[in-house]
Each structure stands twice: as structure tokens, then as C-alpha cells.
Symmetry: C2
Subunit: 188 residues, 2 copies
DNA sequence: TTCTGAATAGTCAAGATTGAATATTCGAAA
DNA sequence: TTTCGAATATTCAATCTTGACTATTCAGAA
């Protein structure tokens, strides 16, 4: 349903044809979704059947006709509804990268440290890239700020994981397959 | 591919039948994936065809026979490979909740604030829940710490968004459809 | 013993997603 | 003016996902 909201929202701002729409999303909203081209077309034709968008064949110059999508009133209404749901709901973030973390104890510690450092470096490169993006106007700047803040946090967390791992590696005993059952004795 | 790694990893620790596997993932690894039951079964039978797991019909008491999955050597090898890839790669986090943020300027500010406060509250409830989970041993504790730290960060970010929004609402002029084109005059 | 609900174990058809391919136009170099 | 690569616009077959359902067993209540 979330990609439907996305398409409706973009179309609300201005009517577009499929490719343009997909391109806009890829450029500006990649941090919200991973919608691929064929999925966008699939959703658009479904939304046409549902009467949410209206399709007009448009011909510019002697280019082949393109299907231009425009929001209908039903589409507007659904947009408002989905927007309100999206804003008020919360869905816990899923981290596929944590799968590897969960199985860290299946490889030698030094190898784990080496691989995670590689990951860390990629994160730093990505952060540097994000920080070069000039501030947009409007809500787009919020999205970028979000990504940057989040990435800072992720980098910090990963550094901690690596440090824990190394610490466990330096204790010279009792590590065959439960390498880091560290548990700081603070708190409680 | 990531769910394959997940299944291989769990099966490496101990052989299991489908339901047990799915249940274990749901209980312990929900923060890494959203794999559903039928997908788990689908993947398992595919992995059987690929020779990554070996299936044995097992009969306990007079229960109906169950298919018990065990890792093959090829499965072990693929696990090691996928694990190394997962640990060394980095994939930017996607935030479906940011779709709504991107369209915040399509609704009145007070409504936006109200809806986001609802979201904020759900996040706080979820955080409180995470913090009641007793510390596991081993890498699982890393995953929980990750979720908690991340959620703290998300809450802080959302508070900032709400504050920005309210601030924009208090400027009494020039807001019809570009409600918060705030842009701190610093930097540049 | 019969019933009921919970837990266990799995399946299926319908729908969604995607890598890869197709088809056209444009611009510019050869 | 032919050709080649890039940009535009879309489609398709194959694969993957999922809500909803089925079927069995078990434990305890009636």
C-alpha cells in the first residue's frame, strides 16, 4: 500500500507519464522505497482499473504516444487517507545487515572484524556522499537529514560492535564457538 | 538472498523442520527480516532442489511425519560465502515512514502535528517494550541493542520534525501550500 | 468419551515483483 | 546518410510472496 501512496502523492503534485514518475521517485524518494520500474507500471495500471488515476494518451511531436497519468477525485481521497495512516503509524525498521551480525560467532573473530571494517568504510563513504547534497527546499531536506542522522548512528553502533568483538578476541581463553558472550556488569 | 543466509544460518546451528524454523526466526530474528511462513517453506524446497539442504522424513510417536532439514556441505559453503558478503556489504536503510513526511505539505500543519504525535507515541511504547527484554547471551543482545539505539535516534528525529513543523505553523504569513520551506540561514 | 481450543505443520491459488528484453527517438560522429 | 550509443517508455515471463485455508495432534473440560 505504501507505494500506492507514493505514486498518488507524486501524481498529485503534477501529472506525469510512467517513466517520468519512476525517474522522479528514483531521484528524489529512493530513501523511502525501492519501487522498481515494472512495479510502478503494474501499480499504475491497477490504479487505473480502480479509478484512482485517469490515463490520457498524449503525443508530443512525432514521439510515440505516452500514457499520462492524472489523479482522479477518488485518487485524491485515497491519497489523503493513506497519508494520514502513514503519518500516524509506526513500523519497526528491519535491518537485513543484522543477519550477518547474528551469525558472527560462526567465523573467526579477526575475519569478522575485517569484514565489518569493510562495511564501516562503505558507510563512511556513503555518509560523505550524503553530506555533499545541497539542502533542498521543503520536506525533501527532512528526508536527507534523516538519512544523515541515521547513518551517523549506524556508524557509531558498528564501531561498538567491532570494539566488542575485538575485546572478546583479546581474552585468550574459552572461545571455541561462543566467542562473545560479553555482558557488561554495569547497570541492572 | 538474505533470507537464504538466514535459513542456512539457523539450520547450521541445529537441524529443524519447517515450522520450528519459521517459529525460531519469528521469535528471535524478526528485526532482520519479515520472512513469512509460506516463503520459508518455498525457500526450503528450493534449497533442497539446489542441494543446499537435505530433507529427512522423521516420525516421532504417532505424529504425522515431518520434514527435517539439515545443512549439506554445499549449504555450509554457501552459508560462509553469503555470511561474508552480508558482513562486508552496506545497504542504505529504507524508511517507508518517510513517504508521509515527504508529503507533509499536503495537509494542514496542526493535523500533521497531531498525526506525527500519534506515531511518536507508538514509538515510545515500542521502545519501552524493547527495554523490558532481558539481555540475551551472544550476538542476539547486539541486535536488541541495535534496535534500541536506533529507536532512540528515530524518536529524537521525529521530535525535531514536529518542532520544525510547529515553528512553521507559528509564522503567521505566506503558507498556503509550501508550509515549511524553513531553511536555516546558517551554512552556505 | 466427546468436544473444544490451542499448538503444530504445511499447502495453495492469487497476486506482486523483477531481471531482462523490446521498441522507438534523438543527437552527433563518421 | 548511415550508424551507434544514450535516453525514453514499456512489457513479459519467471520467480517470489502471502492471506487464507487445511489437517492433525494434544490437553483438558464437560
Amino acid at each position: 500500500m505504501k507505494d500506492k501512496l507514493l505514486l498518488l502523492g507524486v501524481l498529485k503534485q503534477s501529472e506525469m507519464h510512467g517513466y517520468q514518475l519512476y525517474d522522479f521517485i528514483e531521484q528524489n524518494l529512493a530513501s523511502c522505497t525501492t519501487l522498481k520500474k515494472p512495479s510502478a507500471y503494474f501499480l499504475l495500471s491497477k490504479m487505473e482499473q480502480e479509478g484512482l488515476v485517469q490515463v490520457v494518451e498524449q503525443r508530443i511531436g512525432n514521439r510515440p504516444p505516452r500514457k499520462v497519468y492524472r489523479l482522479t477525485q477518488a485518487g485524491e481521497r485515497l491519497f489523503q487517507q493513506l497519508l494520514q495512516e502513514n503519518l500516524s503509524q509506526f513500523t519497526p525498521t528491519v535491518f537485513p545487515g543484522d543477519i550477518g551480525i547474528a551469525f558472527l560467532d560462526q567465523i573467526p573473530i579477526e575475519q569478522g572484524v575485517r569484514l565489518l571494517r569493510k562495511r564501516l568504510q562503505k558507510m563512511q563513504v556513503h555518509l560523505a556522499h550524503l553530506e555533499t547534497i545541497p539542502p533542498h527546499r521543503g520536506s525533501a531536506s527532512l528526508l536527507i537529514k534523516h538519512q544523515i542522522q541515521h547513518l551517523h548512528n549506524e556508524i557509531q553502533w558498528l564501531r561498538e560492535v567491532i570494539a566488542d568483538l575485538q575485546e572478546a578476541g583479546n581474552l585468550p581463553q574459552a572461545q571455541k564457538d561462543n566467542e562473545f558472550s560479553h555482558q557488561d556488569s554495569s547497570s541492572n
